[in-house]
């Protein structure tokens, strides 16, 4: 029978992530200005085991399920959105057993393929192509690359042949966002099918949920202390209802990704469910970040507060994942892919 409580282990890992987030939060502005996470924080995250959340135990990780790991990701990002995302977003390859700090580069085709053709392909064991926008790692790091291999996507491990060029973005500065040229040999790790893509979508959703939580908390706290017309602005229904709306949407989005991750962990991976969950998480994060800027008013527009940075971050992060229409089409198909492709 369904239930919504967490076990002790999951709570403890999420608590660890949350505590690290609280430690990191004061460095968010500095990290954005330096376009990097302070080295000391990266070391601390390493020591806390945060890069091993998802990695299978056989590969030296904690082997947490996507659901438990997602809870930890959301807890960290809710406390230190930019740094948390910059540190953990590039670690997605850990799901497939990659060592820490292996970039994940998705040059595979979308589903359905007509919305997103593959940008990296394989010929005679050599991968060639380009990933226009991805989170990479500061040093020349190994990568797991999704590429089109014949009539299916497959996952390859690459140690060389990866050229990165950092790109300017509107936000998420501490992450190393780059255009990536790929031309080299890779070791085929296996098919990258719907189950693997589902895992990636399930991994992405809690980052957006973390941003949404951060924005809601910040806006709520501000509304409780900011006075106007003789009372806290939170006492005005125009503000209070806005916060309620954000809280409701956040809760709904959280449950959607949890359900998708839960299904995946049970071996009932459902790409449609995950696509719906990610789309909902992205929408909610944007609404919350945007709402936070609005509730702070002029203070939300200037960089004295993190609200404007979170709004830029969310939009940047959003560009790193499949766009809304692709997710809608990946979502529960009305009449099945076959009709959709051929109609």
């Amino acid at each position: 029978m369904w239930r919504f409580d967490w076990d002790e282990d999951s709570r403890s890992v999420a608590g660890l992530a949350r505590d690290f987030g609280r430690l990191a939060m004061p460095f968010e502005r500095e990290a954005a200005a330096a376009a990097d996470v302070p080295k000391a924080l990266t070391v601390q995250a390493e020591e806390a085991g945060l890069f091993d959340l998802l990695r299978p135990e056989g590969a030296g990780g904690l082997g947490l399920s996507l659901l438990a790991a997602g809870g930890a990701v959301a807890a960290l990002v809710a406390e230190a959105p930019s740094i948390g995302t910059a540190l953990l977003w590039p670690e997605a390859a850990g799901i497939f057993g990659a060592p820490p700090h292996t970039a994940f580069l998705d040059g595979g085709g979308g589903t359905p393929a007509y919305l997103r053709p593959a940008t990296v392909s394989v010929a005679k064991g050599r991968l060639k192509g380009r990933v226009a926008f991805a989170a990479v790692l500061p040093e020349a790091a190994p990568a797991f690359v999704v590429a089109r291999d014949g009539d299916q996507d497959a996952l390859f491990a690459m140690r060389s042949g990866i050229g990165t060029e950092r790109v300017r973005t509107m936000g998420l500065e501490p992450a190393h966002l780059a255009a990536v040229e790929i031309d080299g040999e890779g070791e085929r790790k296996g098919v990258f099918g719907p189950a693997e893509r589902t895992a990636i979508l399930c991994y992405a959703a809690p980052f957006f949920h973390g941003y949404a939580r951060a924005a809601l908390s910040y806006a709520r706290d501000y509304a409780a202390r900011r006075q106007a017309f003789g009372q806290a602005i939170g006492a005005f229904q125009g503000v209070a209802f806005h916060l309620s709306e954000m809280a409701m949407e956040n809760e709904a989005a959280e449950l959607l990704w949890q359900e998708a991750a839960w299904a995946h962990a049970r071996g009932e991976s459902d790409l449609s469910l995950a696509a719906q969950a990610l789309r909902s998480a992205k929408d909610t994060a944007w609404k919350s970040a945007n709402g936070c800027v609005g509730i702070l008013g002029g203070h939300g527009f200037v960089d004295d507060h993190p609200a404007e940075r979170w709004l830029r971050d969310v939009q940047t992060l959003s560009a790193l994942t499949a766009n809304r229409s692709a997710l809608a089409e990946t979502g529960r198909g009305l009449f099945g892919e076959e009709v959709g492709e051929s109609a």
Partner: protein, 404 residues
């Protein structure tokens, strides 16, 4: 660890009720809407099929007061609500049983009162009803403003006032009535009574004409020097004296905490019916005759409906779970009700919009659900009241009381 599964027992209940709704409720639904009555043969069919409000929680807090023990009552209730409302919510609301009157009798009724008022439902051959009368013409969301007066008289209390929008009020065997000793006392003056049909001074006023849920009886109740015996003061005099005061108001609110997830589940049931119907109609009429962009636009709209429907169900399930394990859940209950109510209204409207063909009338089921669903964003606390509750709880989390 969160778990989103249903047990075989729950799945079986779901399938059984869905089949009942499909074969026994839907075929009667449109005619009942037109005649504004659930056909009487339905009650026999429901009884023979063992479909009753026993599938719904009469007493969501049964067993409270002892060691905390996890229950499954409300979770089963929301499953049943969704399936039966998928058939027709008017039929669900017209099923015999204590209805919204059940929770307050369970919460604070004395053992004698619980026996007396619930025992009538043991006789399944004749439909019996309870009802819940809180709303008045000048007091809805603001419960503290109720003006129905109760005045002590020898042997009991005299009630004067009018209640409106009372589900099954016209046929209830007894009604839980909220009244005040003195409006100046605010919530502290509230008292809760069970008024039985036939009590002198109690009569049913007009039956409301409504936008939707037309087959279900919603009536006005009038109390004119209606003397209610002392033993019908819910919980007995000592209940109010011992706790000094706001118990009457608390009873009203506690009822909502347990019933809002059920109402949310009904909204999910109706919205699901509308989304499914829209898909069927679109598949028949549109898909192969339309260009791809049109098809994609429809597919995206339906996917969006499906996502919101799923989210509404999950919020409802969470509120029911928290109630079952005895965790505070008024925020979750309000979220479920507000989200499900609001999104279900939008889904039913979009279903109608997506299937509209120029020159053709709307599909009769979609047209009906479009009317039926509107009240789910109103009754059991309006959308605005739910947002007030959520906002209060948000600020309470950081220990701040804002003047909402």
């Amino acid at each position: 660890m969160p778990d989103f599964s249903t047990t075989p027992q729950e799945s079986a209940l779901r399938a059984y009720l869905n089949n009942f709704a499909r074969t026994e409720i839907r075929p009667r639904s449109l005619e009942a809407d037109q005649s504004e009555e659930v056909p009487t043969d339905f009650y026999d069919v429901a009884r023979r099929s063992s479909v009753s409000l026993e599938h719904m929680p009469r007493n969501p807090r049964a067993g409270e007061g002892g060691p905390r023990k996890e229950r499954t009552t409300l979770r089963m209730g929301v499953l049943a609500s969704e399936e039966l409302a998928w058939g027709d919510a008017s039929f669900l609301l017209s099923l015999p049983g204590p209805g919204l009157g059940g929770p307050p009798v369970s919460f604070i009724g004395t053992p004698e009162q619980r026996d007396r008022f619930f025992s009538i439902f043991d006789d399944a051959k004749v439909p019996h009803y309870g009802a819940y009368a809180l709303t008045e013409p000048e007091a809805g969301s603001d419960v503290a403003r109720i003006r129905t007066r109760c005045e002590e008289v020898p042997g009991g209390f005299r009630l004067n006032g009018t209640k409106v929008f009372i589900t099954n009020g016209g046929r209830a065997d007894w009604v839980v009535v909220f009244a005040t000793l003195d409006p100046e006392l605010g919530r502290a003056g509230h008292r809760t009574f069970v008024v039985e049909r036939g009590t002198p001074g109690f009569r049913v006023g007009r039956r409301h004409k409504k936008l939707g849920l037309r087959a279900n009886d919603t009536s006005e109740l009038i109390f004119e020097d209606c003397v209610v015996p002392e033993e019908n003061l819910l919980g007995g005099r000592q209940h109010y004296e011992a706790r000094q005061s706001k118990e009457g108001f608390k009873v009203a609110m506690a009822t909502f905490d347990s019933t809002r997830p059920l109402v949310a589940a009904m909204a999910v049931g109706i919205a699901r019916a509308a989304a499914e119907r829209a898909r069927e109609l679109i598949q028949d009429r549109y898909v192969l005759a339309r260009a791809l962009p049109r098809y994609r636009a429809i597919q995206a709209a339906l996917d969006d409906m499906d996502t919101r429907l799923r989210a509404a169900r999950l919020l409802t399930w969470k509120a029911a779970f928290l109630a079952d394990v005895g965790e505070p859940q008024s925020r979750a209950a309000s979220m479920a009700k507000a989200y499900a109510g609001g999104e279900a209204v939008r889904i039913c409207r979009e279903a109608l919009e997506l299937t509209a063909e120029s020159g053709e009338g709307p599909d009769p089921f979609l047209e009906k659900w479009f009317r039926d669903i509107r009240v789910f964003d109103i009754f059991e606390g309006t959308a605005e009241v739910q947002r007030l509750v959520i906002a209060r709880r948000l600020f309470e989390e950081i220990g701040v009381k804002v003047g909402l």
